[in-house]
Symmetry: C3
Subunit: 203 residues, 3 copies
């Protein structure tokens, strides 16, 4: 899982760097957005759960990794368009891995079921939400094809199998594979949740 986690934060950092580039930020802004996108979800989760010290403060190597990945992205950005498929795959792996890690953390702290699921989702998607708020746009996660729903489904499956007594390693492997498959199918089929549109302004 650690290996997948490292791939995931690298992929998230690169997506953050590209978003910063779309806003013409300087390289410092690129480093910050890369950091926030990759490690922001876990940070919010730790604060929500009252889990101090926060994860990355005990792992300086993660900080170097994500900032390095962000800056490297500025050098190889011209290649990124061709790497679209690889990138989506890494991003999907990251989403599912983050979600499972978040579930595991809250489960280990004895939180109730709904909090365990939210912990997984916060870890999975909050980095991307922070990235979009800092880049001044409505978070794509609220509008894109099944993304947060994949996180939710992965967490629910993991928790369900956990309550059925499945061992953690096997459970993680199954949930990871199922979540990844769902995400890739959603991308291929451009599946979307129903949209709620409301026009009237009266407040």
């Amino acid at each position: 899982m650690t290996g997948i986690y490292l791939v995931a934060i690298t992929a998230e950092a690169m997506s953050g760097a590209l978003a910063a580039g779309r806003r013409n930020m300087d390289i410092f802004g690129v480093a910050v957005i890369a950091f926030v996108t990759a490690l922001g979800g876990g940070t919010i989760r730790d604060v929500m759960l009252g889990r101090f010290p926060i994860g990355w403060t005990q792992h300086p190597e993660y900080v170097y990794l994500v900032i390095g990945a962000g800056l490297l992205t500025t050098a190889i950005a011209f290649l990124m368009h061709n790497l679209k498929r690889l990138f989506l795959l890494l991003d999907a792996m990251g989403l599912v891995a983050f979600s499972l890690i978040g579930c595991g953390v809250a489960l280990g702290m004895g939180y109730p079921t709904v909090v365990v699921i939210m912990s997984g989702m916060i870890t999975g998607i909050c980095g991307g939400i922070l990235r979009d708020v800092l880049c001044n746009q409505v978070p794509v996660v609220f509008r894109r094809e099944l993304y947060a729903s994949v996180s939710l489904a992965t967490c629910a499956l993991f928790l369900g199998l956990h309550h059925l007594g499945l061992g953690t390693n096997l459970n993680t492997a199954i949930s990871f594979a199922a979540g990844l498959a769902l995400r890739l199918l959603a991308i291929r089929g451009a599946w979307r949740l129903p949209v709620f549109s409301y026009r009237q302004r009266w407040d």
Copy 2:
């Protein structure tokens, strides 16, 4: 107070859902914005005061309630315009109830006066601020007719009566009634604070 609190978080969740609908979010986005609007203020307060575990993590039923209310809103949105008056009343009750709850929490932890008042205001208005930031607009609370000021006045009254030795139950009832009356008068009269406009850009 618990009954009023439940009404309040339901009303806030519905206002969040309508805001999400104005941005054409999918139903997941609706659920997130409903959750953040209803429970975000209390969350920020708990983090600011170092009060862990955070309130809603110990009350899964609140999470189900606000997400349910948000999703229900998408089904009955066509009715909402006709419910405007009811909605403003519920929202006003929520503002005042949240403010008093926030004061009570900080008071019980022994914080100084200004922190007690800020705790009440954070609880009362931060949910709406988060909602607006996630929907990518300048928070209306900074520009609308007396809203935050009602929170401030309610907190100050509560704290004043508390220092005069009034019992908590009677104090809460009086402060609630006074705050609610002030808010409803402000809506009826469209009272506003003076606005500060500054044009020059030089930084």
Copy 3:
């Protein structure tokens, strides 16, 4: 350092008030933005480091100072354009002082080097980032002439001298002077970091 700190939070509060004025906020919004700009960086740092109670909750006088400075700014805004040079100087002093204070806090808590530097930078620049997010614009700190870089350089110098065994008082004085000089030179020369622009949208 305390004297410089008080000057710094006052200057930051005034910059927040002017930003609020550009968005036509009411005086309550001005007070909030002034507060967040001046004390938000230290708040985020304390939460990240798990340092409770948060600084300003133990110093009510800081809260009064920054809110007072924010409101005063609305009265003397017509003068501000003429005070531009003074204002930039105070802001530069604040940036450097905040950074050194943030380093000192994390160092005292035994965090690793990269966290100490990030603690300094968070303290130095997050207030301005929050201000810009609440005013619905891309944070200028990600695009302006050397600003965050000054914070980084100041923190790195302080930490380097600290590891060389220099006493804290002398170290602070040297780092403060060097950081301030760098910032003023950057303003005079309009130095900027390279910008990363990326056009393609494919996610």
